[in-house]
């Protein structure tokens, strides 16, 4: 159903037959309610789902993640960026398939290996009526470095920048410290604030709305922390006018409550539909679900640096004497022992695409020719025997239980499948906060991680490159996989300002890492939105929910 090369999948959800009409067998509020609950319930829902909001052109969206601050440069978290991107914009933008498109910069080019020139859009105004200029852009690119109190700031996105200067009102020149091809991707995460307003503004000024002055399609109206952000359309916006006069972004992290709010008609759209509710919403005529492959790849890191990794023993609990994960045949055996199709279909209820790539289909550097390993227990057993483990061994698989879609169930399923192939696997699932603490203390040898990225070379830099604090490589390479060939290709790719050349190199590095099983790829997540049947949305690979991209059908 979901193929590797087409990242977009839209399900036009046809209900079985019309269930949305009142039942003739009972009055609406009479005893008939007890006799024919499903019919009446459907009828009531039908009434509620034809809200007056269509006339008022209001869109009410249920977001799944807690927004901690409205300051667009404080914390690089998806929920914060989701709300911020309604009021603020970046120089470069990405389309629904994560490919770069112009944002506040109309065009850009590399003048030489370390100099970029961005031509800025003319006639763009901030919400307070002032003109957007290269000064604001230069200021916004430096501001992340001045924010000191945040544990997850945006400094990493401007790390490569040596200087950003306004050549004239509409030209910005960026010098990088070294040749760096991923600059346009990095600065996509830097939202442009008004220099005049943000110069002395702290997070509390953004939360209060005083500093919520961007160039984006929506203007700040009211913010109630932990509850909602109300926005009004920016009629001066340079882009195609959004369809909604008024937008309310509600924060409802509890899955069942978010679904209920949609069913009751209180919301028009919810993001991250819980997998358990998809079937139920699918058969509802008044709703539709739109899905696409997300950029998030779920993978297993394998310890490849210690002679005696924790949790790996023989059948009697004694140390093995060597690290089995260092043997490619063992890694291949693990990959073959995992039934990715079953995980995608059963555990994930269709919300996954089996993976053999560091990035999702359509993302920069993806190699469509790489197919996920087929399920092959016998092959896995043979490989294990050839590697010197005819009786297998014991491992502990660790991972979070509150971060990714059905993460704990994935861990359990993988453990069962590996045990079947001879690798007896014990699962340790815990909240992400505790899990990352374990990882930091290097107490895990086999661990699950999810990763989303705009480009394969960027993902390789974090996940696969040999850890090198000086160059900033491999910060998330928990298994310390090290392959100089992959590193060299990745480095060349990132250093290349020629996009075609860069993508070819990134793809090659990706292919090499996958063929060597630097980590075990499991699947790419599928991201879902549920909405009123009268709405349309181009599903985004980067999982963002933007009110201005919803249109009436």
């Amino acid at each position: 159903m979901i193929t590797g090369t087409t990242p977009t999948l839209t399900l036009p959800l046809k209900g079985r037959e019309s269930r949305g009409t009142p039942s003739p067998s009972g009055g609406r509020w009479g005893w008939g309610w007890f006799k024919t609950p499903p019919l009446l319930c459907a009828a009531v829902v039908a009434c509620l789902l034809t809200p007056p909001s269509i006339l008022a052109a209001e869109l009410r969206i249920g977001l799944s993640g807690e927004v901690t601050s409205l300051d667009p440069q404080l914390l690089a978290s998806q929920p914060n960026l989701t709300v911020a991107r309604h009021a603020f914009e970046s120089l470069t933008d990405v389309d629904a398939q994560t490919r770069l498109i112009p944002g506040l910069a109309e065009s850009w080019r590399a003048i030489d290996a370390t100099t970029w020139e961005f031509k800025l859009r003319r006639g763009v105004k901030f919400h307070d009526g002032s003109d957007f200029s290269a000064e604001d852009a230069a200021f916004s690119l430096q501001r992340p470095l001045s924010i000191k109190g945040s544990p997850g700031g945006f400094a990493a996105f401007v790390r490569a920048i040596a200087s950003a200067t306004a050549v004239d009102t509409h030209t910005l020149r960026i010098k990088t410290k070294y040749p760096y091809g991923a600059l346009p991707e990095d600065i996509n995460s830097i939202l442009i604030v008004s220099r005049k307003i943000a110069l002395n503004a702290g997070p509390e000024d953004f939360d209060a709305g005083r500093a919520m002055v961007g160039t984006g399609p929506y203007k700040f109206v009211r913010y109630q922390r932990g509850d909602r952000l109300e926005l009004a359309r920016n009629d001066q916006w340079w882009g195609k006018a959004a369809a909604w006069d008024k937008v309310t972004l509600r924060v409802i992290p509890a899955d069942p409550s978010r679904t209920a709010a949609l069913l009751s008609g209180e919301l028009d759209v919810i993001e991250h539909v819980p997998s358990a509710d998809i079937k139920k919403l699918n058969i509802n005529n008044n709703l539709r679900i739109i899905q696409t492959t997300s950029w998030r790849t779920i993978l297993l890191h394998l310890d490849q640096y210690r002679a005696q990794p924790p949790g790996i023993t023989d059948a009697n609990g004694k140390p093995l004497g060597k690290n089995p994960f260092l043997d490619l045949r063992v890694r291949q055996a693990i990959s073959k022992a995992i039934n990715r199709a079953a995980i995608a279909e059963r555990v994930m209820e269709g919300l996954a695409v089996p993976a053999n790539n560091i990035v999702s289909p359509g993302v920069f550097g993806h190699n469509a020719a790489l197919k996920a390993d087929a399920y092959d227990v016998e092959g896995a057993k043979k490989l294990l025997a050839a590697a010197g483990y005819p009786n297998g061994f014991h491992v502990t698989l660790a991972g979070p239980n509150n971060r990714y879609i059905n993460d704990e169930q994935i861990l359990q399923t993988v453990a069962q499948l590996l045990t079947r192939a001879g690798i007896t696997t014990r699962v340790e699932a815990m909240p992400m906060s505790a899990f990352l603490g374990r990882v930091r203390k290097e107490e895990t040898a086999f661990a699950l991680l999810g990763w989303g990225s705009f480009a394969a070379d960027l993902a390789l830099r974090s996940l696969v490159a040999a850890p090198n604090p000086e160059k900033g490589y491999g910060a998330w390479n928990w298994g310390r996989y090290a392959n100089p060939k992959v590193d060299a290709l990745m480095e060349q790719a990132l250093g290349s300002v020629d996009r075609a050349r860069r993508e070819a190199l990134a793809r090659e590095a990706n292919t090499l890492a996958m063929n060597d099983l630097a980590f075990i790829p499991l699947h790419h997540q599928v991201v879902s939105w549920a909405m009123r049947a009268g709405l349309n949305y181009t599903p985004r690979t980067d999982e963002f929910t933007f009110a201005h991209h919803f249109t009436p059908r």
Partner: protein, 333 residues
């Protein structure tokens, strides 16, 4: 003479209480601080995934998280004594501000729940106590078992499914429109606010309602057997007066004690209800903060809650003395 005794008692009492409270706050902060430290590092979970090793190390150092636990705690204590409980890692604004910003919503929800529990619980309990063998008495008791035994989050979801999704009478989640009263945003003064308040308050009230029903019923049954009730009846006092004056007044003291203590737990443990109904209160803030190990907020929240408990207990004790002269005199000696 009497007046001086009355004045003396609460001061002694309050001073002793104050000493205990400071000790409790101290122990609590130490426990929470160590606990959160043991779980992990907030930087690990909040860090920008693109950050490299140097940036991660710098961030940890900047937030002081690389120092030994005792040093971090010492810095916290120094700040706490000057009234600074630290800034939230996730929101970068003072933790105590975040909590006070969310407190009115939680207090409103808790008071509404307590109101429902008291207004329904005492009459129903009285009824069940007066007519223990009738079908109505048995029905009330059976209902109270449900209130005790059903998990809050499940009941919350069921309330949403029935009253919001299927019947469409009330909104599913969130807080309604607010009006400022002395600078505090309250929602119970607007129709929209009340509509949003009904379901979560009912959900939160159920357990306390069941408790009050049982307490009132037990007290009523006991009081009905007392001599003074029998004499009152023998005197020919009308039944309604007997219940009002002789029964209700006497059973009110334990009920007030329990209701007071339970108010504290309502405020502190509104977490589940707030999560299910996406109610923007302190409990939801706590859960979000625990998820990202936002230590300043977690510590400040628990200190505020401990303080609230102490305050409410004190209030209950004082109320007690006002209701029962015997307690007052005993305390004075």
């Amino acid at each position: 003479m009497f007046l001086s005794l009355f004045m003396q008692f609460p001061i002694n009492f309050a001073l002793r209480r104050l000493g205990q409270s400071v000790a409790t706050l101290f122990v609590m902060s130490l426990l929470v601080f160590t606990g959160v430290y043991a779980i992990g590092n907030p930087v690990d979970i909040l860090i920008n995934p693109q950050a490299d090793q140097a940036e991660i190390a710098q961030t940890i150092a900047r937030l002081g998280l690389d120092r030994p636990l005792w040093e971090q705690y010492w810095i916290f204590l120094k700040g706490a004594f000057s009234g600074d409980l630290g800034k939230s890692f996730a929101a970068s604004i003072p933790a105590i501000e975040l909590i006070f910003e969310r407190m009115p919503a939680t207090l409103e929800l808790s008071f509404a729940a307590m109101l429902i529990a008291v207004v329904l619980g005492i009459p129903l309990g009285l009824l069940a106590g007066l007519k223990p063998d009738s079908w109505i008495g048995r029905g009330i008791m059976a209902g109270s078992i449900l209130g005790f035994s059903l998990p809050t989050f499940w009941v919350g979801l069921m309330l949403i499914m029935v009253f919001s999704v299927q019947l469409g009478w009330l909104p599913t989640t969130g807080r309604g429109a607010t009006v400022d009263v002395f600078g505090i945003p309250v929602s119970f003064l607007t129709w929209d606010g009340i509509r949003h308040l009904i379901l979560p308050a009912t959900n939160l009230a159920l357990f306390k309602l069941a408790l009050l029903i049982r307490l009132t019923r037990a007290g009523t049954r006991e009081a009905m057997l007392q001599d003074y009730v029998r004499y009152a009846r023998a005197k020919g006092v009308p039944e309604s007066t007997v219940v009002r004056v002789h029964v209700l007044r006497n059973i009110l003291i334990p009920i007030i004690t329990v209701a007071g203590l339970e108010l504290g737990s309502l405020i502190a443990f509104a977490v589940v209800t707030e999560t299910v109904f996406a109610w923007p209160g302190m409990g939801k803030l706590l859960i979000d903060s625990i998820n990202v190990l936002d230590r300043p907020v977690i510590v400040a929240y628990l200190l505020v809650i401990v303080f609230l408990f102490i305050f409410i207990n004190l209030l209950v004790d004082l109320l007690y003395t006002a209701l029962d002269p015997r307690v007052r005199l005993k305390g004075a000696r």
